[in-house]
């Protein structure tokens, strides 16, 4: 039952990524050229509603559908890992035109070359795991 709920949420997410065109390389390019409001509208409205939702969950003691306390772990404090990691991610995001959610949506949409991007991103994650202790965090 729980597994089915994760699957359904994933399907809604996948449809949303495709239909919003957030999975389109062109939309990412256009965003970084500041030539459309579309992507900013998506991210902005998501975050605005997200902030209201999360603050509500923190103030009103809402339980999950399964009666558990909802936990939202804070991010560890640091600067370099977020800035350097963020820049590397941004370089790849703009080049491949896809981030780790939409990548999988594009597999379902039938774009075979996205599998190259996914394989390389798994390799990239593996390289990070190898080099982790040598990098400034």
């Amino acid at each position: 039952m729980r597994t089915l709920s994760y699957l359904l949420i994933g399907i809604v997410f996948g449809i949303t990524m495709f239909k919003s065109e957030a999975a389109s390389w062109f939309r990412i390019y256009e965003m970084f050229k500041f030539e459309s409001f579309h992507m900013y509208g998506i991210i902005g409205s998501t975050v605005l509603i997200g902030i209201i939702t999360v603050q509500m969950i923190k103030r009103v003691p809402i339980k999950s559908f399964y009666g558990e306390t909802i936990q939202i772990p804070p991010k560890a404090k640091s600067f370099s890992r977020y800035m350097f990691g963020g820049i590397l991610f941004g370089l790849g995001w703009a080049l491949a035109g896809a981030c780790p959610g939409p990548m999988f949506t594009l597999v379902g949409a039938g774009y075979v070359p996205i599998l190259v991007v996914i394989a390389a991103s798994i390799l990239g994650t593996f390289l990070y795991g190898l080099l982790k202790d040598k990098l400034p965090h």
Partner: protein
């Protein structure tokens, strides 16, 4: 019923993503897609090479199910909810892309130069897709999250580290498109 085939405007898309995040919280999980790349490393046996991959991935299986859903959602969205997938980007963006050699700009969902089947036998396309993927995979884990984990979950929870990461995402993206694209395309 024709509206169902139209692309979704931002004011439908944004609330839908927020709904996905909310539903995940309500089933006791946190929205973050890039964690799956680490899980896939572990499943492939990366734990033998680095401690970072020695963790109980089975406790994270739910996230792989979300990925499976995202794949199915991509299939449904493209095959049953779209007749013309062309992305109507700004005409100015189209002309810039045409000058860079992307003749498919404004006509398709993804640039054919990088994402049609011929790209699979083109060395330059393969190299660019691989480098892009490597940077995404390395950067996202270094930063501890991607667009979903930082830009959406993190900012929604007013996390300053996520704001730093998002600023980093934009610095990287702007460097790629404004400084590196003119050199490689």
């Amino acid at each position: 019923m024709d509206w169902i085939y139209e692309p979704w405007p931002w004011y439908v898309s944004g609330p839908m993503i927020a709904l996905v995040m909310f539903l995940l919280l309500m089933v006791g999980k946190n929205f973050g897609m890039s964690s799956n790349l680490r899980i896939l490393c572990t499943i492939c046996g990366a734990g033998n090479k680095a401690d970072f991959f020695r963790f109980d991935w089975k406790a994270q299986r739910w996230n792989l199910v979300v990925v499976l859903g995202a794949i199915i959602g991509g299939f449904i969205g493209s095959h049953f909810m779209t007749t013309d997938a062309a992305v109507a980007i700004n005409p100015d963006t189209v002309s810039t892309l045409n000058e860079l050699g992307f003749s498919s700009a404004g006509k398709t969902y993804l640039p054919t130069e990088l994402f049609n089947m011929e790209a699979m036998t083109d060395l330059k396309s393969l190299a660019l897709l691989s480098i892009g993927g490597l940077l995404v995979g390395f950067g996202t884990r270094y930063a501890g999250g991607c667009t979903s984990g930082h830009a959406i979950s993190g900012l929604s929870n007013l996390q300053f580290p996520s704001l730093i990461a998002v600023v980093g995402f934009f610095i990287g993206g702007l460097i790629m498109i404004h400084l590196i694209f003119p050199l490689i395309f």
